[in-house]
Amino acid sequence: MRRVVITGVGLVTPIGTGRELFWDKLTSGTSGIGPVQSFDTTGYAAHLGAEVKNFDPSGYVRSRHPDSMGRASQLAIAAARMAIEDSKVDLTDRDRLRIGVSMGTTSGEPGMVERYNDARKIGGVESVPADILPKYPCNVIPSNLAIEFNLRGPCLMIPTACAAGNYAIGYGFDMIRLGRTDLMLAGGADSFSRITYSGFARLGAIAPERCQPFDKHRKGMVPGEGAAVLVLEPLEDALARGATIYAEVLGYGVSCDSHHMTAAHPQGDGAIRAMTMALKDSRKTTADVDYISAHGTGTPTNDRVENIAVRTLFGERAPKVPMSSIKSMIGHTMGAASAIEAVACSLAIHTGVIPPTMNFTEPDDGSDLDYVPNQARKTDPEIILNNAYAFGGNNASLCLARVQ
């Protein structure tokens, strides 16, 4: 089977657009969280958000007018264009049937549902313009990427909510590994939505002031938006063209809690199964892992269960493996989150620096795990586990490594 490497990354996040700016902001601990601007939160039980501000899609979406698609598609196209440019891969004479797209999302294009309901409220269902809901099904996001860049291979969306980015990268990895495709654009995208926001607000899950993953005083998550796309290709192709290789994808694992739609299994059973499968798929053990990119949303329950899962699986070694959550800075970008985190992991491997957990004051319940508090650290990690958990009980862990 072929080995698969990451040779290009592109992203649009609440702390910055593009690899260099994103990494500068992330390793310097910059927050992208602030009062919600895209709609009026009067009457909501929360007001904080992690939005992508001043995003102009016109420079990125070139095949059609940006208004012909929803915001998640625009964010995804921007990320994909940057990823392709970053990889310096020349697609001109490539067999387009051998290039595919796999993306993840939580909500797809929820803006289309909002427009549908807004129009319906004013003039009834009959008044809703015909072109709104055809832009809704979540697979329009990868389809829009395929059209924008003329990619004719497999094209699918894996909408497994907040673990979706890892699922999508995993699928892209499988396709190349098996020789079904020679290049994949893989990642995740989600746009800020009043639907998601009102749900989390009503659940009382949104932090009032800041996002403090793993902190004793954590009060919740912060909904966000963004997109990340990674260029995946076979190792031999990357070497042949002298590409910069950020990291190698070693394997991944997925599982289901089959316990509750929104609450994680209290002992982290599903999370442990996903990590175990990812390590087995990668032919590695917990002893090999140098850094864990946590799901770390900042909600009391998620972080507690994640602690338990890592403790249970890593045993005595758990405190020696740094584990941080970048959601402390970029918020929870939903289906894009684990794709953005996979980019952060790739750059950690590439630069040797691991990003911090910001806003950390003191550990919960005397936990002795190393959350990389408040300051990035040079640790030269070689093997990284990227964890993501989701509504529906979906869990996905991705294992990345420095190419040997």
């Binding site: 409220k121 709104i132 055809p134 499988d174 599982s255 316990h259």
Partner: protein, 402 residues
Amino acid sequence: MIERVVVTGSGVIASMGAGVEEFERNLYAGCSGVGPSPLMGENAVAAEVRNFNPQPWLGNKGIRVLDRSARLLSVAAYMTLHATGLQAKEGAESNPDLGLVCGTMFGSLHSITSFDWSGLTDGPNYVNPGEFPNTVINSPAGQAAIKHRLGGVNSTISAGLVSGLYAIHYAAEFLRFGRATALMAGGVEELCEESFVSFAKTGVISKRGCPQPFGPDRDGTVLGEGSALWMMETAANAEARGAKALLEICGFGATQDAHDIGAFRVRGEGATSAMQQALQAAGIGPDAIGCVIAAASGSRAGDEMEVHALRNVFGDKLSQIPVCAPKAAYGEVMGASGALGALAAGMALAKGTIPPTAGFHSTDSGLMLSAQPQLLKTEYALVNCFGCDGNNASLVVKGLNQ
């Protein structure tokens, strides 16, 4: 790498039948589920699962919170588990060796729209937090996993109208990589006001309320709903537990037309490539194919495109290959269509005859369609699924009757 992935059972609920037996009987009798759709309105026509009540399969416990998609999928999963003897024992822990891969197009669109509507009209503080979980697209697969204690691989796949076939391919790859030993895979789609209105406004729906795939005066498709699943296992797992392998998954191909979000390439280049890839992956030529389960749904342009693509692949031999267009019976079931087509192919291979095309009387396509079951000449079937959004997928399956 594990080489062989097999099918050991199935479950289905659609307009023309709940359960494999009823579905098969009606499919082979040429009965169609297209008709009045009380769910969609007084004069609406659709292939609705009429008077749908999940209680006989799922009982009453925990049913209230499930939306229609989650109920349809959970019922199909119940049937599949019971058909294969893999159902959870009463009070059992979740089974880490059993998983679910579900294709869907619109997912829980109706739940999402209703949730947003209540926030919009009553205020954001009045949305029902109990309904929030149904707003994620993977909610049916998550709910079915809770209901049936499925702790293994769980994934939702969306590739528009071809989602169901992608889900089968996705599950097959997971089994080949040894990440699972048994997975249910297929699709689900519910009829809801939002998707119904959406399709109606694009003008692809049959005004006569009658889909006539490949028919000379066809005037559009009719939407349907339902869920279909296969139990897929590694051949070794099936053998070890003494389960009979009914079918083998041989090859899959998928392409995107990369043309227009609302249109495909009319000459069928992408569809042609998808079929050719599937044949190549199966290691067989077009001559080995004994029947085709077509994607055709009565769409003027879509059916014509499929004829072009079939001609590209089969050439002059096309007129000798029996073809069935089962969407005449169960409608365009969107994210579940591929899975329903796959089940129809499995039935054809098991019986040695392919189902009739419901209501068929004539075609100018040159295809070998019939209102009667037709004899199958080989043990391989080709299942097509082509979307109006440029997604194409094809699957080759082999019958294991010996």
